[in-house]
Structure formats: structure tokens, C-alpha cells
């Protein structure tokens, strides 16, 4: 009997205490931020979409190697001596043309592992988080600033340069071989 009355009393009292809490909460201002009209201020270290500043990129491939999901694709080609590729922001001369720098932002897991190895700090995470697209192919971001013709041109230039170098080397080797053969003949003649 005592337990019966105890049950009734504890039920009623705890219900009223709970009701008191929700009543008080009706008058507390709400914590909702009405999103499209009001946007949150994000902190400075916020990790959202990646950005690459191509003027500083030296094509070292460190970020692509650090990425755990392999979302960065980099292709570089060496410059020929007459080219002026430019300088990075801390004064070093660049030695490589970057012909392909694709980041598949749909694969990116926003882990920030690519930001730390970069020697020139050209890849970093911004606070942009509204970048939905209708077409999935638009998620492959291409950061290279050269036009496609220019990229082809650089590749062809380098290939030509290499071929010329190889031709020169071959020509030089032939001449050297000829000279050596001529010398040998002379030697032989002398000996005889």
C-alpha cells in the first residue's frame, strides 16, 4: 500500500518538475540560426574547399603523395632553357611547367594532409562550403592557368628539345666515334 502511494506521489512530482523545465524553456531565446538569411561566422582554421594558388606551385608532387584518397593528379614537364616559368612568392625560380593539376573535390575527404607538405604553402583550405553542382563532372577542379594549346606546346617544346639534345648527342657521339676510328687508323698506319 505504501509503495502504491509512493508510486503515485513520485509520478506526479516528477511529471510536474519536468513540466516546469519545459515551461521555463519556452521563454529562453532559441538557438536557431536561420540559415540562408543569416550565415555563421566560421573560425579561421576552418577546413572546407581546397584552393591552389598556381603562381606558387612548383610541381613537387608532395601534396598528391600525401593525399589518402588520391584525389590530386599532377603532371609536370621540364622547361627548356629559353623559357621563363616565373618565380614563387618567396623568390625561388621555378623549374617545371605544371600541365595538369586536377583535384577531384568530390573525392576529397577534407583531412588537410595535403596542406602541410607543400613547401610554398600554395595549397590551402578555404571556408567555402556551398559548392554544389548539378553535374558530377564539374567536381573535377582544374587549377592550371595555361590554356590547353599552351600545355600541348610546352610538351612539344620539351620533346623537341630532348630530341635535339639526343640528336646532338648522337651526332657528337658519331663524330667522336669517327674521330676515334680515324685516330686508330692513323695509329695503325703509323705502326705499319
Amino acid at each position: 500500500m505504501k509503495e502504491y502511494l509512493n508510486n503515485i506521489w513520485s509520478a506526479i512530482s516528477t511529471i510536474f518538475i519536468g513540466m516546469g523545465i519545459t515551461w521555463r524553456h519556452m521563454f529562453v531565446p532559441s538557438v536557431t540560426i536561420q540559415y540562408p538569411d543569416v550565415k555563421l561566422d566560421l573560425p579561421e582554421r576552418e577546413r572546407n574547399r581546397l584552393y591552389v594558388n598556381m603562381d606558387d606551385c612548383i610541381g613537387c608532387d608532395q601534396c598528391a603523395r600525401a593525399c589518402p584518397v588520391n584525389c590530386i593528379e599532377i603532371e609536370t614537364v621540364k622547361g627548356i632553357p629559353e623559357d621563363d616559368i616565373g618565380k614563387t612568392s618567396n623568390g625561388k625560380k621555378k623549374a617545371l611547367w605544371v600541365t595538369k593539376f586536377n583535384i577531384d573535390i568530390a573525392k576529397c575527404c577534407y583531412c588537410q594532409l595535403c596542406v602541410f607538405p607543400c613547401p610554398t604553402e600554395c595549397i590551402y583550405m578555404t571556408d567555402v562550403y556551398e559548392f554544389s553542382e548539378y553535374d558530377r563532372d564539374n567536381f573535377i577542379y582544374d587549377f592550371v592557368t595555361l590554356t590547353p594549346e599552351e600545355r600541348e606546346q610546352k610538351k612539344i617544346n620539351y620533346q623537341k628539345f630532348e630530341e635535339e639534345k639526343a640528336a646532338k648527342k648522337a651526332a657528337a657521339a658519331e663524330e667522336a666515334a669517327k674521330a676515334k676510328a680515324a685516330e686508330k687508323k692513323d695509329d695503325n698506319k703509323e705502326q705499319n
Binding site: I15, R45, R47, L113
Partner: protein
């Protein structure tokens, strides 16, 4: 002559509002009473352990985040401790303190989710929103430090990725002062509510010897009366420098080891975590947090098993290395996976409605069960 009845098989399917994730529970019923519960898992298996064999040691950390996504800091913590043991390196004391503060904040956040969703399963919708509102404050503390709210990639092998923000300690102290009265309010609204007690007390009683035999760890084990916590019994990092208590279930609303005890142990643990954070903030030294991070991690040939106290239990990492920059084998002992196994024992001779109560009190995260 006994009446011949047929057993009915009921599927609490992979898509269900009350199973926390994709879990299929096959209930074999006899009328309304449960005869057998068979959990079917694997719907969230993402091959973490195999995948880690192709990554280098630092690259594995984003993957460990995603196992138990509600307590990411602790996953990284356990992994970092294991690899540091393998490499045998010393880390600065400031790093240890930062890791402890982050870990304990993560424990509070994870328990808030557990408590909130448990209340929502039972039918009380308001504490769910209160818990998530408080959790937002913790997530914004994390966002200030490392830039992400849920999957951090913050605790690295040998240190942490960023030093604390200058405002971090002050804001954490403010959070502690803000949060203490909220625990009292939560207790008044949910824990001591007679209807909640009626639903959860004496339901799913887990006895101490059964729990130890099944390998249960974490708040479930402590609720059954056993005072076992890796932070005190096998201390790692700087936990031996703090003064805190281990809450144990005492059956005050029913029997020892029922669902109410499991739920209330989590509430008490949040209180203890606040104490640890206060002491850590007072004791934290200055220092450089990135000095001990090795440039290239190539551990010697060997194997190591290291364990930490996750909000859900004992999280263990077994790492075997063969001298290359990629781990040869990583095996994770996920506490939710092992805690889930006992659900058959707990649900014997109960009603279908109680399965939800018991599942909520076990507090599983399917990312950890399936990895």
C-alpha cells in the same frame, strides 16, 4: 496437451528509426515474448583494416576517424599511442595534456548523443534537442582548434597537428561552467522521471560474471557493478596525474546492471570528465606541439597492441609492421562489436518494446561494429 504454437520471426530491418545505424535484428518471437535475437551486421563494412595496408602511417589517421564517427578523437588517440609505442618515441608533455582535454571533451559529446538518442527512442523528444544544443558548443570548440566538427585528423603520430587556439582554454572553462547546471536539468527532465524509470529499470539486467565472460567493457561493465576503467587500471598518457572517480552502477532504481544503470553511468561519467578537463586546464604546460612528429614514419619490424578507454569501452589497436612505411596489418578491437554480442542474453523473455530500450542502453555505433 500443450498448444502447438509457431514462432514468428520479426525483422527489425536495416532501416529503422531506433537502431542506431544500419543493423538488422532478427527477433524470434513466441507471441509477444522474445525467444532469440540474432543481430546481422556488416551493412557498413568499409574494409578499413585492408585499406590501411595500402596507406602510409600518417595517411591512416583520417580513416581511423571514420570508424567510430561519434568519438573520432579517441580513435586517433588510440592509433597514435600504438604507433608511438612501436616507434618508441617520447612526446612533449603539452601534447599529452592537449590529447587528454580533447579526449575528454569527446567523451562528453559522445555521451550526449547516447543520452539524447536514448531519450528519443523511449519517446521523450525534448532532451534529445537539449543534448544536441550542448554538443554544438563542444563541436564549435573543436572547429576553432582544427577546423572540422566531426572528423578531425588532429591527433597525429608524435604530436598534434595545430597548437591550441589562444582563446581555447578560456572558452573551454566557460563551457564547463555552462554545462554543469545542464546536467542537473537533464537529470530532472529525464533521469528521475517516473515514466522513464518505469521503462528502463529492471529491463535487460546484465550480471557481472556474464559481462566479464562476454568481454564487455566500458560503461556497460561499470553499470553491472565492476569498477574497471583503463584510465585508472592501465593508465596511458597522463591520466595518472588527475584525480577523478569511476562511477559504478548501484541499482538504485531497480537492480544492478539494468538499463537505467547503464544510462546513468554515462551521465555520471560526463560529470567526471568535466573534473578531468578542469584539472588539465590548470596543469597544462607550455611547449612545442609539433616537435616530435617524425618526418617519415618507418617503424622497425615488430608488433604492438595498445588500448584506450573509448566512450564505449576498450578500444584496442594491434599493429604489425614489417619495416616499410605502410603497416603490414592493423586490427582494431571495436568495443561496440563486442558489446553487441550480449544482446541475445539480455533480451530473454522480454517484450518487443524492450529490445529498443536495451539496444539504446548498449550504445553502439555501427561504424565501429562494422569498420
Amino acid at each position: 496437451m500443450a498448444l502447438k504454437t509457431e514462432e514468428m520471426i520479426l525483422n527489425m530491418g536495416p532501416q529503422h528509426p531506433s537502431t542506431h545505424g544500419v543493423l538488422r535484428l532478427e527477433l524470434q518471437l513466441e507471441g509477444e515474448l522474445i525467444v532469440n535475437v540474432v543481430p546481422h551486421i556488416g551493412y557498413l563494412h568499409r574494409c578499413f583494416e585492408k585499406h590501411a595496408e595500402a596507406m602510409t602511417y600518417p595517411q591512416v589517421i583520417p580513416y581511423t576517424d571514420r570508424m567510430d564517427y561519434l568519438a573520432s578523437m579517441y580513435n586517433e588517440f588510440g592509433y597514435a599511442l600504438a604507433v608511438e609505442k612501436l616507434l618508441n618515441i617520447e612526446i612533449p608533455e603539452r601534447v599529452e595534456y592537449i590529447r587528454v582535454i580533447m579526449g575528454e571533451l569527446q567523451r562528453i559529446a559522445s555521451h550526449l548523443v547516447a543520452i539524447g538518442t536514448y531519450g528519443a527512442d523511449i519517446g521523450a523528444f525534448t532532451p534529445f534537442l537539449f543534448c544536441f544544443r550542448d554538443r554544438e558548443k563542444i563541436l564549435s570548440l573543436y572547429e576553432m582548434t582544427c577546423g572540422a566538427r566531426l572528423l578531425y585528423n588532429y591527433i597525429w603520430v608524435g604530436g598534434v597537428s595545430h597548437d591550441l587556439h589562444p582563446d581555447f582554454l578560456r572558452l573551454t572553462k566557460e563551457f564547463i561552467d555552462y554545462f554543469r547546471p545542464k546536467i542537473t536539468e537533464l537529470n530532472n527532465l529525464l533521469s528521475y522521471n517516473k515514466i522513464f524509470i518505469e521503462r528502463t529499470a529492471n529491463v535487460g539486467i546484465l550480471k557481472k560474471d556474464v559481462a566479464v565472460n562476454y568481454g564487455i567493457t566500458g560503461p556497460m561493465l561499470r553499470a553491472s557493478g565492476m569498477k574497471w576503467d583503463l584510465r585508472k587500471d592501465d593508465p596511458y598518457s597522463v591520466y595518472d596525474k588527475f584525480d577523478f572517480d569511476i562511477p559504478v552502477g548501484d541499482g538504485r532504481m531497480g537492480t544492478v546492471g539494468d538499463s537505467w544503470d547503464r544510462y546513468f553511468v554515462r551521465v555520471l561519467e560526463m560529470e567526471e570528465s568535466l573534473k578531468i578537463i578542469e584539472q588539465a586546464i590548470a596543469q597544462i604546460p607550455e611547449g612545442d606541439v609539433t616537435s616530435a612528429i617524425p618526418k617519415r614514419i618507418k617503424p622497425p619490424v615488430g608488433q604492438v597492441y595498445s588500448r584506450v578507454e573509448n566512450p564505449r569501452g576498450e578500444l584496442g589497436y594491434f599493429i604489425m609492421s614489417n619495416g616499410t612505411p605502410n603497416p603490414f596489418r592493423i586490427k582494431v578491437r571495436g568495443p561496440s562489436f563486442i558489446n553487441l554480442a550480449v544482446i541475445n542474453e539480455l533480451c530473454k523473455d522480454l517484450l518487443v518494446a524492450d529490445v529498443i530500450t536495451i539496444l539504446g542502453s548498449i550504445d553502439i555505433v555501427l561504424g565501429e561494429v562494422d569498420r
